[in-house]
């Protein structure tokens, strides 16, 4: 199996789906000639031409609304928001139309589109280039919200997203883009949207995370195992909405303890939903309060203070230890 980083894996998913299905169209700002500001769509313009890899004018709302029209008319648009921090211009189209069209028409009209956007901190960027606002989409009924954590999950989930009959918002952890390589099979691979996966098996405590935060979570788990013999079970959510609560609620029934990790602000974040599901479904098994290790309830600061904002190995390990000691 070839080893690739997340940028290459996403590029491969796009290329293979475009080869397979001529209704798949890419559009966005600088996705063509420039190959995307992160080079995710590099080479695709040359291969598929400007009708299928569309450099659009600078207008996020238009990119989303235009995609909705394309999807209604039978195409499979994969549009890109250059940074998730610019997707709020598009929020109105996604919330008011993409998410509701199926419900509004009682199933007659679907919007099979994907909106890709790099999200998250840790790359020393300017304002609007580092935030993590996945819950805006997750809170919108009718949308699916997916966040892969590794090259292989990114590739498999993106293929599933493109084939999904409903609109999918696909956040790509830009801190992971070129951080590491992983084996990704050349042959077709999908991963079901709405399913989480076990990233690490363990018996002492369940740690639930997703996206860019999976790496420091796994690092914390490995440090705790090596130094203190603590065995963490790590669940990688992959889909934020619809949330798969089966794996983590079952895991907590086994371990009795849980910590949730995300970089988004804490209040009303995905962690709050995870805790609510645990209370609903595993309450009697809980031996300690569930801790949320998150960003703080403020806009992620510029890069000099960014690492104090983002959850790191120290913060995660401390919360795990304290939850075990409770």
């Amino acid at each position: 199996m070839p080893k690739m980083n997340m940028v290459q894996a996403i590029n491969m998913a796009l290329r293979q789906e475009m080869e397979k299905d001529d209704s798949v169209i890419l559009l966005g700002e600088d996705v063509g000639r420039d190959g995307g500001v992160f080079r995710v769509t590099d080479g695709l313009l040359d291969k598929f031409g400007p009708e299928r890899v569309v450099d659009t004018p600078l207008a996020e709302s238009a990119i989303a609304g235009f995609s909705i029209g394309m999807a209604i008319a039978g195409l499979r648009p994969v549009c890109e928001m250059q940074f998730s921090g610019f997707s709020y211009f598009a929020f109105h189209q996604m919330e008011s139309h993409a998410s509701r069209m199926r419900q509004r028409t009682l199933g007659r009209v679907g919007v099979p589109m994907v909106m890709r956007a790099p999200y998250g901190g840790g790359v020393r960027a300017l304002e609007h280039h580092s935030e993590s606002r996945e819950v805006y989409w997750a809170h919108t009924p009718g949308l699916k919200m997916v966040i892969p954590s590794t090259p292989r999950t990114a590739r498999a989930l993106l293929v599933s997203a493109i084939r999904d009959p409903d609109p999918v918002v696909f956040y790509e952890p830009k801190a992971v883009y070129r951080a590491f390589r992983e084996e990704v099979p050349e042959e077709e691979e999908t991963f079901p949207i709405g399913k989480s996966r076990l990233a690490l098996e363990g018996k002492d405590i369940t740690v639930i995370s997703y996206g860019a935060m999976l790496r420091p979570t796994l690092e914390a788990a490995s440090e705790l195992k090596d130094k203190e013999g603590i065995e963490c079970e790590v669940v990688d959510l992959l889909t934020i909405s619809p949330l798969d609560d089966k794996l983590f609620t079952e895991s907590v029934r086994k371990t009795g303890r849980a910590v949730v990790v995300h970089e988004a602000p804490r209040s009303f974040g995905a962690g709050a939903e995870v805790v609510a599901r645990l209370v609903d479904k595993s309450f009697l098994y809980l031996e300690a309060p569930v801790r949320r290790v998150t960003g703080f309830d403020l806009v992620i600061p510029y890069y000099q203070r960014e690492q104090d904002y983002l959850p790191g190995v120290f913060r995660i390990a401390t919360a795990i230890r304290e939850t075990l000691e409770f």
Binding site: E29, D55, P57, F86, A125, L126, D297, Q304, R305, E306
Partner: protein, 372 residues
């Protein structure tokens, strides 16, 4: 009924006073006072040299990503035509204009080296912070115009944006509001021909950007944006018209982004070196230098002394910036910023971070002891 032509109040005109070779159209020369001419020159040189310095600092890893401004320095003529109580509503490629209006250079360096302190508005200066989401600030310019009109202040709002921004809905909504309410807002489009990799020709099908103003019954003038005299003249006209109750106006400054979109960009992917070379011949500074030499306002010695003065000013700002950086900042400060009064949640979270930082320091000290 016959088909007849509808008479519109405006047509699109193009203004150029000082050509790329430094030849002035004497009939249009605004004959600005020597002092102002030299101040404009100095402002442009400062813009260029500070930009060059920031690029070096960025390549050395001392500052992060920023948007170079090289080639667009004639923008200072817009701010030169403003009065002290006017408002500047910039996007993110207006560093020389912001400096003209009193933003200290160390504030710019702080912003791009990752300190939120770089966003702190200097006291008493009506300049909004840099706005990154393209075109969004134009609405603030329109709203400020409304406030000035409502309060009976004779102040004008001047909002900057690029050619890419004219594709955003926010921009059109701002133009419409400004026109409907006849507010004193001047829209300044810096058409630098490239929105990252998208050329002007692919941004809009319109022949000019200025003509978009006509849809709102607002005067729209196309100006040679590398001609500092034309930019000054057009800005002065638009600003004084707005100030005297004539309503909003639109200026399309034709210029060129000679450098990168941002320091994370590689323009070789999408544009030719020949095109860049063509625009270097139309450099706003060299042609103005020629004009000033012809007027005996500049000589080799004078050019050198201005350059030296400007360098000294940049070094001094860099010194103040370095002193700030060396002093360091308290991460806990970040909790102070979001609300006028810190909500209890944030008080708690600040305490959490304080404990975490202490524990981390403790861990480092413990590790050091163990090693000893």
């Amino acid at each position: 009924m016959p088909k007849t032509e509808i008479d519109l109040p405006y047509r699109v005109e193009y203004l150029s006073i000082l050509d790329p070779d430094g030849q002035v159209d004497a009939s249009l020369d605004p004959s600005l006072p020597d002092e102002l001419l030299l101040k404009l020159y100095r402002g442009m040189v400062l813009g260029r040299k500070f930009d060059e310095r920031m690029l070096i600092l960025q390549r050395q890893g001392k500052i992060g990503t920023f948007a170079p401004v090289k080639g667009q320095e004639a923008q200072v003529a817009v701010t030169a035509a403003m009065e002290e109580n006017d408002w500047l509503v910039p996007s993110f490629r207006e560093t020389p204009a912001e400096i003209w209006r009193g933003r200290p250079m160390e504030s710019v360096l702080l912003l791009y080296s990752g300190y939120n302190e770089g966003g702190r508005a200097p006291e008493g200066i009506r300049t909004l912070p840099v706005s990154v989401p393209v075109g969004s600030q134009t609405l603030h310019g329109a709203g400020i115009g409304y406030a000035m009109k409502y309060r009976g202040e004779k102040s004008v709002a001047v909002t900057f944006f690029g050619d890419g921004a004219t594709s955003e809905g926010d921009f059109h909504e701002a133009m419409n509001f400004a026109a409907v309410f006849q507010v004193p807002t001047v829209f300044v489009c810096q058409n630098n021909h490239w929105a990252i990799s998208i050329p002007r020709s692919r941004q809009t099908h319109s022949k000019t950007i200025a003509q978009k103003a006509l849809a709102y019954d607002m005067p729209g003038l196309q100006v040679d944006g590398n001609d500092v005299l034309a930019v000054y003249q057009a800005s002065r006209d638009a600003i004084s018209r707005a100030r005297s109750g004539g309503g909003p106006a639109f200026l399309e400054l034709i210029t060129y982004r000679m450098s990168l979109h941002t320091t994370a960009d590689d323009p070789k992917k999408y544009r030719s070196e020949e095109e860049v070379q063509e625009w270097i011949k139309r450099d706003p500074i060299t042609r103005f230098e020629k004009y000033l030499r012809d007027k005996d306002l500049l000589s080799d010695e004078k050019i050198q002394s201005i350059a030296a003065e400007v360098q000294a000013e940049i070094s001094a700002a860099e010194g103040r910036w370095s002193a700030f950086v060396e002093k360091g900042v308290d991460p806990l400060d970040m909790f102070e910023w979001p609300y006028a009064q810190m909500p209890p949640d944030l008080v708690e979270q600040r305490e959490e971070l304080r404990r975490e930082l202490e524990a981390k320091r403790g861990k480092v000290e413990k590790d050091t002891l163990v090693r000893d």
